[in-house]
Subunit: 226 residues, 2 copies
DNA sequence: CAGAAACCGTGAGGAAATTCACAATGTCGT
DNA sequence: ACGACATTGTGAATTTCCTCACGGTTTCTG
């Protein structure tokens, strides 16, 4: 998904075509929940729980149990009627589906306040995410390391991103550089970006961007203050 | 919204009742977009643009122009046919609707890696958000200040939150303290929480929680890597 | 081993959100 | 003053997502 051109002539990008040879269409919301299930299962595993029901899984996440079952059923039959799901088994399956059964390699661009916090976040490693490299354009930062991650010159981004086989880019630069950096990342073959910058990114349909926008979250919370 | 009890007897909490005396029901997604519009309008204002069409607004956010118009129409008639919307006027209206026409007072709980980055983030002030106080339970941090914000003992949370007339709480503590801190905040009268902790919070229906969950974002991006 | 209990998978129905499409309304140039 | 044009506001159609409800399967109990 990217731009919607509702008014102008329909672009002949294959992306908006009726239904590609894909099997079934899986809602984006389902994927996000898979990830939530995965984490709950990880906790259950630590608690040495062998089995879990859709009901319990749902309760631990504030969801409806039918939704849990339906979400999982998109990908196969993992449950045992009368019993529930086997924790480890289900977790492994979900990890495989999400592609997190191997380490995910990340590149961080912009090592400022936020970038630094991300570099020293232990939670990522716990989930199998590895920030392999970081980039900045500030001379004083280039060449140094933070949280065991080497900081490279943003000018060398394309080369290093390819070399290091990066999967996902993290954007944490000032707003007025976001689009340009985004394009560098795409140019380097990246097609998944996590964007912390409060700016809309224009990207081809093949590239996935997830936005994390704190101001939006706070502002919209403000609306609900009675 | 909080727990869904799909299986057990319907709880007689007034929250799930058919339709309270509310006027029209405004989708949550609309509120989030209002906030996006507000920011784009702020940029347009800086560029000295007087007017803007729903089409342009949509293009700048990757949305459909009909959606922009419909969103705004929930709250009144702000546009002028054949012309568009007056930038400053619309912006002021949206800020009024969101309640951001006055400063929003925030309390941060947990001044670790992430909390520190948040304290030194200039972007908040720009949007009219003010982190008024911070809390931690680490002796070495209590009493000091970071980014001009005083750090208090978490034990005094209730008293200070009331005293300082805090609107929204920000949760950035370790996962195993999240639910307890959340309850302290609610006990102190808070009913809007921004939660960075990767854990589900159980709260009464009257309390709004927005989740910011980085691992989920990365994990779900991973799914889309081809 | 029979009957009860637990729980999954899923079709049908519903609710929510988005997009379409167009009549209505205004602007602007001449 | 008027016709050409731009753009809004909104019912209707569409799409996306969620919940209900139940048949069917497995386990458990006595
Ligand atoms: N700090 C926060 O808590 C926070 C919260 C929400 C959003 N954000 C957003 O995240 C982004 C970064 O915030 P921050 O507080 O870390 O800012 P910052 O100014 O501390 O850091 C930005 C870093 O990006 C580097 N940089 C600038 N241009 C670059 C380029 N072209 N290529 C590579 N690196 C470049 C700078 O040298 C700097 O180190 C901003 O867009 C901000 O709005 C930050
Ligand atoms: N650092 C990141 O980039 C990042 C990213 C995503 C999510 N998170 C989440 O945010 C939370 C904080 O992360 P962090 O990296 O800042 O951790 P951290 O350990 O650096 O900081 C946690 C802080 O909370 C304080 N604390 C602990 N219990 C408390 C209590 N009961 N009341 C008040 N303060 C208390 C600790 O003293 C510490 O200062 C974690 O749940 C983490 O999973 C962090």
């Amino acid at each position: 998904m990217s731009e919607n051109n509702p008014d102008s002539p329909p672009t002949p990008h294959a992306a908006t075509s009726p239904s590609p040879p894909t099997e079934k269409k899986i809602p984006k919301a389902v994927i996000k929940r898979l990830s939530l299930y995965s984490r709950v299962l990880q906790n259950l595993e630590i608690m040495d729980r062998e089995k879990v029901s859709s009901r319990e899984l749902a309760a631990r996440l504030g969801l409806n149990s039918a939704q849990v079952r339906k979400d999982l059923a998109y990908f196969g039959q993992f449950g045992v009627p009368g019993l529930g799901y086997y924790v480890s088994d289900l977790r492994q399956n979900i990890k495989r589906i999400l592609g997190t059964d191997r380490a995910i390699r990340l590149a961080l661009v912009g090592v400022g306040n936020l970038g630094t916090a991300l570099l020293s976040y232990a939670g990522f490693a716990r989930q199998g995410f590895h920030i392999a490299v970081a980039f900045d354009c500030d001379r004083r930062k280039i060449g140094s390391t933070k949280g065991n991650v080497r900081i490279y010159d943003a000018a060398d981004l394309a080369r290093i991103v390819r070399q290091e086989e990066i999967d996902i880019g993290i954007l944490a630069v000032p707003a007025d550089h976001a689009q340009a950096v985004c394009e560098s990342l795409i140019g380097a073959g990246i097609n998944a970006i996590l964007n912390f910058v409060p700016a809309h990114l224009s990207v081809p349909d093949s590239v996935h961007v997830h936005y994390v926008d704190l101001s939006i979250e706070i502002e919209s919370l403000s609306y609900y203050l009675r």
